[in-house]
Symmetry: C2
Subunit: 386 residues, 2 copies
């Protein structure tokens, strides 16, 4: 096990009928005027907007609104939001939505105290020492952004989809009410499942050995996610399964299961490049990239992929390499079984930008820890994914 330093200060409020408390939480922590940040309108359909607004009003919290955060959130929206926040002098952000809204809130919260362009943080030209408090109201369990400090933003002009985070950008408090996710369309649930699994894989398959507790923890999240997916695809309104998936998604990326290990994160890097070129959802991109990555790198740690096969799919082949390959196939089968794409062509992506995307994926430096990937490696993985 590698040394680690863990500090996750986010308070997580989880369960049914918890959203109407948001006003009193903000009141207790002392802010009087907030930015209400959200996406494109699903929160009007599922009633969350009304719950939040009624709660803020009841607590005497003033709010101004910014809507229109896109599923793959963009820098232009960040700039617009920061400008608005400064004009309005808000004291906190109440971010209502999925990971895109929370990710946008994080960079905006830090940029509030910064006079120059928010992209500077992503380019690591500057590091924040403070940020406005963030309150998250999660409506789609997938990215884990509700209980971590990170976020991904796309710089549309430069075709850079990059991650960033800081110890000052953990949400102060996030509310996760799984019951509001009952009305999600099937493909959104599927994307959340894939995103959750992939976050675990990035920690689980990274280049560190001898971390039994973390492997056990990761395998528990994987099995729980897969079991919940199976139930939800039959009955999207099953509360217990929604709660299991929501909690698994939070645990998949709140930092715990990756402690003491080198995370890999190559698949995320490749996917970010992919969705900088094509308007596909992050979960979809991961579903296409990760099995190809597995196929390309499994020889670096055959035992771990074989263990994956045993602990997740109950495989018991004698030959470890055959077991590793069978495990990768079983994961692909699982994805296909839930209706997730496993090839680029399924989303109409061909060879047209593969070389550019391989270069793009390595703009910030090498990718991966299980195997450190060169541009040529990334290209091979994208080809395998075709």
């Amino acid at each position: 096990m590698k040394n680690f330093d863990f500090h996750n200060p986010t308070r997580l409020v989880f369960g049914k009928d918890t959203i109407p408390n948001i006003g009193s939480y903000v009141q207790q922590y002392g802010e009087k005027k907030v930015l209400l940040l959200y996406g494109k309108g699903s929160i009007f359909k599922n009633g969350v907007y009304d719950q939040v607004v009624a709660s803020l009003q009841a607590a005497g919290i003033t709010y101004v609104e910014m809507s229109g955060v896109q599923p793959n959130p963009v820098l232009s929206k960040v700039r617009e939001t920061v400008q608005f926040m400064k004009e309005e002098q808000v004291e906190a952000i109440v971010a209502v939505g999925g990971g895109s809204v929370l990710d946008t809130a994080k960079i905006c919260a830090a940029s509030y105290y910064y006079a120059e362009d928010p992209w500077d943080f992503y380019e690591r030209k500057v590091f924040p020492d403070k940020a406005l408090p963030i309150y998250g109201i999660l409506t789609l369990s997938a990215t884990g952004s509700e209980m971590n400090s990170g976020g991904v933003i796309t710089n549309e002009e430069e075709k850079k989809k990059w991650g960033w985070g800081s110890k000052v950008t953990y949400p102060r408090l996030s509310i996760v009410d799984p019951s509001v996710q009952k009305s999600l369309p099937r493909n959104q649930t599927v994307k959340g499942v894939v995103d959750t699994l992939t976050h675990v894989f990035e920690a689980y398959f990274g280049g560190t050995k001898n971390t039994l507790m973390q492997d056990e923890f990761s395998e528990g999240i994987i099995r729980t996610t897969m079991a919940a997916a199976k139930v939800l695809l039959e009955d999207p309104s099953d509360y217990d399964a929604r709660a299991e998936l929501a909690w698994a998604a939070t645990l998949a990326l709140n930092g715990l299961n990756g402690l003491g290990r080198a995370g890999d994160w190559a698949s995320h890097g490749i996917e970010h490049s992919l969705s900088a070129y094509y308007d596909i959802a992050h979960g979809e991109g991961l579903s296409m990239v990760m099995p190809a990555w597995m196929q390309y790198v499994y020889k670096e740690d055959v035992d771990k992929f074989a263990r994956f096969g045993e602990k997740i799919f109950g495989l018991e082949l004698e030959d470890q390499e055959a077991q590793a390959l069978a495990a990768i196939k079983a994961y692909k089968d699982f994805l296909q079984g839930i209706g997730a794409p496993v090839t680029l062509r399924e989303r109409g992506i061909g060879e047209e930008h593969l070389v550019e995307m391989s270069k793009n994926a390595l703009l910030r430096g090498p990718l991966g820890t299980l195997k450190v990937l060169s541009e040529k490696d990334v290209l091979e993985i994208l080809r395998l994914a075709l």
Copy 2:
């Protein structure tokens, strides 16, 4: 899954050679004078005292010392320490040792701002709204106190061994260097293993169903702990196993695995009564009480005990009740295998105080959630443990 509200603000620094950073951490957070609190001298043998003192001195932190915290920490020591802290006007506590030292630090940190007797907190006459910051340097992984807000103190005069905690008593930062535990005597390692397992069981067997993620998480901690125990009893200096056990012990009681569930805690309540009457270690007491509790209550949730048998011991009996009973026997066998006592008589405890202890265990109200225990139930469990 039940609703929950989770907020664990402790920063955990984990790994080799991390203790010499304590001075710079205290400096960064801004305190200039601290109480150095510890037990009876093991920290002189394993070199931890020297590391801490050198680090504080190098950082220019003034310290005053209080030693002599006992393995079952007592109220008289708390009173003495609080008095001393007030006289010396310390700004933080650096608690060096196992759970007993951390538990003492917590009540002292809160009592620093309270003019009356510390026991008032345990009697729930008063609730703290602030406490001095606590820095933990863990030298024995067992109680999980390094990353939670709770502690247990014995009021010797009144024979009350009670737990207490508050949201202001989480350590600000704890350092866990598993390598300093290499020199622990075998029986201390065994007690840590039993304490860790029992903490998990209290969450795992509590009276809530349908919490797959939490069950998976708990089972992962149990398997990791048992695997590490096996290695350490052969080779106490195996770093990886020390690290696995240390991390498992922290996770067993940092609040996570019990979320969304009703913890049971009856075995802890009974053990506290037991060790208020007899000078036995907490881990030993749990080792004697918990199997008896299991035997007495398993019918309340046969499926869960059967699952325990499958997931932990690989049992595959067709009859669920037979499987549950086999699981309890397998756990008893495990305890005996590591040299932990499973009957009261092994520690010279007979029937002399059983009735008194049963009454004592229920002084603060009913015990348990899987089965709510009456005085008669507690007596039966103690008899089963004889």
